[in-house]
């Protein structure tokens, strides 16, 4: 446990010292919220901000989480990983700390968006609802960063990994239910959106917004996340024999 918190501390300090990175990670989702949420002349929902905010939240976690693999990759390229692996700290704590750090960092970004959304006219929710939103975002963050780390461990060089993240992020976002309801989508898009893991998290957050508790989606998300984490652990152990 000491290992996990120390590794998280290290990544956190490194992140906040890299100021451009901090600013860009906060500006990008805010820009989406403002430009898409306020500027698009949308007529299919009452309060489009309420509709778009869950989409932007999940997109933020996605972009933050998908690049998480590069953290472990750079530790490996720069020689840190070998140092850490030669220490008595349980090796898995390296992997766990990366996944947790990325998820927590995603939640910090999500908080900024939630505040901004309310400031520009989204409906305020009650504390329980916010708690559920955070739970869903956290599970989704763990899911994405574990997935990304697994891919990074396989790909082994940074250029391929950057190409992979670029290829995955935008298509996933545009084929999800982030921007429009299923009823407004063409049939082909609706079919894709229904199986897109992003829509899954977005729809769950929208359910929370309407006042219901999406027990089944949360449980399913929990199962998917557990599967990917176990997979990441397996690949990590294989790569670090």
């Amino acid at each position: 446990m000491k290992g996990v918190t120390t590794y998280i501390y290290r990544d956190f300090i490194r992140w906040i010292r890299y100021r451009v990175g901090v600013i860009s990670s906060l500006v990008l989702p805010a820009a989406w919220l403002l430009f898409v949420g306020l500027a698009l002349p949308v007529t299919f929902t009452g309060n489009y901000l309420d509709f778009i905010t869950p989409g932007i939240l999940v997109m933020t976690i996605l972009t933050a989480g998908i690049s998480s693999g590069s953290l472990l990759m750079f530790d490996k390229i720069l020689g840190f990983l070998n140092k850490f692996l030669a220490m008595p700290v349980p090796r898995e704590s390296i992997l766990i700390s990366k996944i947790l750090f990325i998820s927590i960092r995603g939640l910090i970004q999500a908080t900024i968006i939630l505040i901004l959304a309310v400031l520009i006219g989204a409906t305020m929710m009650n504390p329980l609802q916010y708690g559920l939103v955070y739970l869903i975002l956290f599970l989704f963050g763990v899911f994405i960063s574990a997935f990304s780390t697994t891919v990074a461990l396989y790909l082994d060089d940074h250029d391929s990994f950057a190409a992979f993240t670029a290829m995955v992020t935008m298509p996933l976002f545009f084929t999800s239910s982030a921007l429009m309801p299923y009823s407004s989508m063409p049939d082909w898009l609706s079919a894709i959106a229904h199986v897109n893991p992003l829509s899954f998290a977005i729809d769950a957050i929208r359910d929370v917004g309407t006042g219901s508790v999406p027990v089944v989606p949360i449980l399913l998300l929990l199962v998917f996340t557990a599967v990917v984490v176990v997979l990441a652990g397996y690949v990590f152990r294989k790569v670090t024999v």
Binding site: K2, I13, R14, G79, N82, K83, A86, V241
Partner: protein
């Protein structure tokens, strides 16, 4: 108990045998593993530090088998790879504290202060490591490696890329560590450093130990004097009683002889007769370079290194 003990330690990467039957027994000394690129130095270190599993044979550190009790091995070693892995956006003190916390030592702050002082980094401890010189970064890494008072320290090319003053400084610190009873296992390319500072060296070539012993003993195995001949064009081999061919690196050919002064003119004649165009000849005492040249033979081409890296890469991809 012997600090490092290996028996027939072997590592294959597919067809390539990177390390072939390593038998070593190292205790409370500075041991230098020397060898050309791709000869198996780093692979040996990775196996001893539990970062790589051997194909055959066994290794134990402080009595703990590297395969059966890797956690106990990691408890009593430190490993400093050659990459200079220091978090440059953290201060020296922060870098150190992370290691102190990871090792879970009591009073991390005091220990960090103490080691920063030992490594002469106290006055710069709160500056970001990116403002440090290469020598300071290396000393910071050594300080990190000492945090849990390990019994064995593995150093991969500890002085690579440093200037002369920084190299000497690093060596002074390494010497100090052995005085406290630590065992240092290091790899290096610098023969002069190994000659000067290592208690014993092992010369590894194509995965096998080609020479093992203290630098002075190894040098004594060669004859008294070394004659180095610089030639133009290809070398046509010559035979002369009392001289032994050591090896060739680039256009310099070395021989050992019992009495250099007498052999010098004779050798010059024989070389000329064989059709060699001699540019210069020099006479000197044997150095570790000569031992290295004799054990390893002609320096391997860089190609061998790429191939080795390629195999390592395949391995890491899990093929």
């Amino acid at each position: 108990m012997t600090a490092i003990l290996t028996e027939g330690l072997t590592k294959n990467f597919g067809e390539l045998c990177a390390v072939n039957g390593l038998d070593l027994s190292i205790d409370k000394e500075i041991f230098g593993l020397l060898g050309p690129n791709g000869s198996g130095k780093t692979t040996s270190v990775l196996m001893l530090t539990t970062l790589l599993t051997q194909t055959k044979g066994s290794a134990s550190i402080c009595g703990h088998d590297t395969r059966l009790e890797p956690e106990k091995v990691r408890d009593c070693i430190s490993y400093v790879p050659q990459d200079m892995a220091v978090d440059t956006n953290l201060t020296g003190r922060e870098n150190m504290l992370i290691f102190a916390w990871l090792y879970g030592i009591p009073n991390p702050k005091d220990k960090v202060d103490e080691l920063l002082a030992v490594m002469e980094l106290s006055d710069r401890a709160d500056d970001l490591a990116k403002t440090y010189s290469g020598g300071m970064r290396r000393r910071l890494e050594l300080a990190e490696a000492l945090v849990h008072e390990p019994e064995v320290i593995f150093l991969d090319e500890p002085t690579i890329g440093l200037d002369v003053a920084a190299r000497r400084n690093i060596w002074t610190h390494i010497k100090k560590m052995t005085k406290k009873g630590m065992t240092i296992f290091m790899t290096t390319h610098y023969m002069d450093e190994a000659d000067q500072y290592c208690d014993r060296v092992g010369i590894i070539s194509r995965g096998k130990i080609a020479a093992l012993g203290s630098p002075s003993v190894l040098k004594a195995h060669l004859m008294k004097d070394v004659i180095t001949v610089t030639i133009e064009g290809d070398y046509s081999p010559v035979q002369l009683d009392g001289t032994v061919f050591v090896g060739q690196s680039d256009d310099a050919i070395s021989f050992t002889v019992e009495n250099g002064r007498e052999a010098l003119p004779l050798l010059a004649d024989v070389l000329k007769q064989a059709g060699n165009r001699v540019k210069a000849m020099s006479l000197r005492e044997p150095s570790l370079d000569d031992v290295f040249l004799q054990s390893v033979g002609k320096q391997e081409e860089p190609k061998g290194f790429e191939e080795f890296k390629f195999h390592m890469m395949l391995h890491h991809r899990g093929h």
